[in-house]
C-alpha cells in the first residue's frame, strides 16, 4: 500500500504530523511519500524516519518540490518503550529515583515529642544509607525542618553535600512566616513538587 501526502506550503511540524497520520492509516507495512517545499522539512522527516527505523530516501524535483519516501517494514514500527523513557533514566539499580516527602514536623501520630525525635532519627538514618534519595521535599508542617532551630539541620546539610536535592515548599514557608529562616536547600513550588513525586520510582513518606 502506498499513500501520498501533500505538505507543500506547510510549516514544520505539519509535514511530520501529516506523515505520521498517513503511517497510522497504513496500519502495517507500506510506503508513504510526502511532498514538501523546503529542505528543513526534508531533514525533520528524515530525522523521524531514522528514529523510528523506517527506510527513508528523499529527492529534489524542479520547482522547489521535495519528495520524502518512507518505507514502513513488517512488525512493530514503534520503537521499544525503553528508548522513550527520558524523565527517569535508569543506570542500573543505584540510580533508582527515590524521593522522600516530609509533610509534618513529626514522624507518625501519637506523642508530639516522640514524633519530633523520630523524625530527627529518620533523617539521620537516611544519610547513612548506601543509596541516598535523589530529592527530599518538605511541605506544610515539614517546612520547619529545613529552617532555623530545626534539630535536623546538620544531617540535612550533610545530605545536601552528598548531592541530595533538598526542596521546601515556598507557599508553606510563607504561610508559617519562615521565608527568611530557611537554612538548607532551595525553595520550590507545587509544580515541581508534583513533578518530583510523580517522577519518583519510589516515594517515601515518613
Amino acid at each position: 500500500m502506498k499513500i501520498e501526502v501533500n505538505a507543500m506550503g506547510d510549516a514544520c511540524p505539519i509535514p511530520v504530523v501529516k506523515t505520521k497520520n498517513a503511517i497510522r492509516e497504513l496500519n502495517g507495512p507500506g510506503v508513504v511519500r510526502t511532498a514538501v517545499d523546503n529542505e528543513i522539512a526534508v531533514q525533520n522527516l528524515t530525522k523521524m524516519a531514522n528514529q523510528k527505523g523506517y527506510g527513508v530516501k528523499s529527492e529534489k524535483e524542479a520547482g522547489g518540490r521535495f519528495y520524502v519516501t518512507m518505507t514502513i517494514g513488517e512488525g512493530a514500527p514503534e520503537p521499544p518503550e525503553a528508548e522513550t523513557c527520558l524523565v527517569a533514566p535508569q543506570d542500573g539499580a543505584k540510580q533508582r529515583k527515590v524521593v522522600v516527602a516530609v509533610s509534618s514536623a513529626q514522624m507518625g501520630s501519637g506523642s508530639e515529642e516522640l514524633g519530633r525525635t523520630l523524625l530527627k532519627g529518620f533523617i539521620y538514618a537516611l544519610g547513612q544509607q548506601d543509596q541516598l534519595p535523589e530529592t527530599i521535599l518538605f511541605y506544610n508542617g515539614g517546612a520547619s525542618i529545613t529552617c532555623e532551630d530545626s534539630p535536623a539541620l546538620e544531617d540535612l546539610r550533610s545530605l545536601e553535600a552528598q548531592g541530595v536535592e533538598i526542596l521546601t515548599c515556598g507557599t508553606c514557608l510563607n504561610f508559617y512566616g519562615l521565608t527568611d529562616k530557611l537554612q538548607v536547600g532551595g525553595v520550590t513550588n507545587m509544580y515541581t513538587i508534583v513533578e518530583k513525586m510523580t517522577g519518583a520510582a519510589l516515594l517515601v513518606k515518613p
Binding site: A11, V17, Q43, N44, E83, P89
Partner: protein, 342 residues
C-alpha cells in the same frame, strides 16, 4: 475564533532567521570608520550593542520583535517584552527606556492589539524602565516587540565570550518552550505544559541578573532563538570547549515527550545544522538532543563563572524560585567543542 487561528501561526524565536544564513549577509555589510566608543557591535555575537558615553557609563541597545507564539494576546505581549528586555540583563545592564514595535492587520479587532500592548507595558514597568513611545505599521500578520535602551558600567558589562577553562556553566530557566508552543499549535500540548511554558516565558530575567551581579561572572548570554547549544557554541568563541551533563539540564519533561512525537520546528533543525557540527552526543536520548537545539523565546540566562561562585549563585536563584542548575563546565579547547553526555 477565526481571529485566534490567524493570530498564532507559530512565532516567537522559532521565527528567527538561521544563524548560518544571517552571518553570510552581515559579513558583507559595509562598515564606516571604526568608533572606539562602540564597545560591542556587529563584530561580536553578543546580545546587545554597547556604546560608551563617558567613563563608567555606556548605553546598551537591543531590539526584538516576532509573531505570536501563543493564542492569548496579553500573554504574547508579556512574552515578547520579557524577551526583548532580556538582552539588557544578559549584558549586565539596567533597563531605562523602551519603545513599542507593532505590526497589525487593519481589519483585525483592535482589542487584541490593546491586550498585546497591555502585556508589554506591564513588563516594561516591572523591569523598572519607562515606555517612551513606539512605531506601528499595518501588515498582514501580527508582530510585536520592543526596542530597549539600558545602561551599564563598561567595566562590569557581561560579554558572552569571556568564559575561562574551569568555569561552571549555569542555566536559570528550563528549556523546551519552543517545542511546547509548537505542540500546542497542532493541538498536542497539555494545558499544564503550556501554562508552565508561558509562566517561564513571561518571567523577566531581571531577578536572575540581580543574583548574578553579586558574583564573578566571566561570561553571560540569554538562551533564545539559536537554542541552548547554539548560544553555547557562540560562548565557546572558537577558543574554548565544554562538557555538558544532559541529566542536569533543566527542561520541561513534556517538551521531551513532544520531541519524541517529532513535533519539531524548522528553527530547531536550522540550529542543529548550524551548531551540530560542533557537538558530540554520548548516551543522550534523541528527545533531549532536540530540547538542547530547541529555539527558546524569553529563555534563561546562561552564565560562566568559577565553581565556588556558581554553587552560591545556584542557591540564590533557587531561593528566588528559579529552576537554576549547573549544567556543565568549560575546559581548554579540545577536539570536540561541546561534549554532551549523561
Amino acid at each position: 475564533m477565526e481571529d485566534k487561528l490567524i493570530f498564532c501561526k507559530g512565532g516567537g524565536c522559532t521565527a528567527k532567521l538561521g544563524a548560518g544564513i544571517l552571518s553570510r549577509v552581515l559579513d558583507r555589510l559595509p562598515r564606516g570608520p571604526a568608533d572606539e566608543n562602540l564597545l560591542v557591535g556587529y563584530d561580536s555575537r553578543d546580545d546587545g550593542a554597547v556604546y560608551r558615553l563617558s567613563d563608567g557609563l555606556a548605553c546598551v541597545h537591543t531590539l526584538d520583535f516576532f509573531p505570536p507564539m501563543v493564542d492569548d494576546p496579553y500573554a504574547f505581549g508579556q512574552i515578547a517584552a520579557a524577551n526583548a528586555l532580556s538582552d539588557i540583563y544578559a549584558m549586565g545592564g539596567a533597563v531605562r527606556t523602551a519603545l513599542n514595535i507593532v505590526c497589525f492587520p487593519e481589519a483585525m479587532d483592535l482589542n487584541i492589539l490593546g491586550e498585546i500592548l497591555r502585556g508589554g507595558a506591564e513588563k516594561v514597568i516591572e523591569s523598572g524602565g519607562v515606555l517612551a513611545g513606539g512605531h506601528s505599521i499595518a501588515d498582514s500578520d501580527v508582530k510585536y516587540g520592543l526596542s530597549v535602551t539600558g545602561v551599564v558600567d563598561p567595566e562590569k558589562m557581561y560579554r558572552n565570550n569571556g568564559g575561562r577553562p574551569g568555569d561552571c556553566l549555569l542555566l536559570t530557566k528550563r528549556l523546551g518552550v519552543g517545542i511546547i508552543c509548537t505542540a500546542n499549535r497542532v493541538g498536542e500540548a497539555s494545558p499544564e505544559a503550556l501554562a508552565a511554558a508561558v509562566q517561564s516565558m513571561t518571567t523577566l530575567n531581571r531577578d536572575a541578573a540581580d543574583c548574578c551581579s553579586r558574583y564573578d561572572i566571566h561570561a553571560c548570554t540569554d538562551v533564545t532563538g539559536f537554542g541552548f547549544l547554539g548560544h553555547l557554541h557562540e560562548m565557546m568563541d572558537g577558543r574554548l570547549s565544554c562538557r555538558i551533563d544532559w541529566k542536569r539540564v533543566p527542561y520541561f519533561p513534556e517538551a521531551a515527550a513532544y520531541a519524541d512525537e517529532f513535533l519539531l520546528t524548522a528553527a530547531a533543525q536550522r540550529n542543529r545544522n548550524h551548531a551540530g557540527p560542533f557537538v558530540r552526543f554520548e548516551g543522550t536520548p534523541f528527545a533531549v538532543e532536540e530540547v538542547l537545539f530547541d529555539p527558546q523565546t524569553s529563555g534563561g540566562l546562561l552564565a560562566a563563572l568559577p565553581e565556588a561562585d556558581a554553587l552560591k549563585l545556584r542557591e540564590d536563584l533557587r531561593q528566588r524560585g528559579f529552576p537554576a542548575e549547573i549544567v556543565g563546565e568549560i575546559t581548554e579547547k579540545t577536539g570536540v567543542e561541546i561534549l554532551v553526555r549523561g
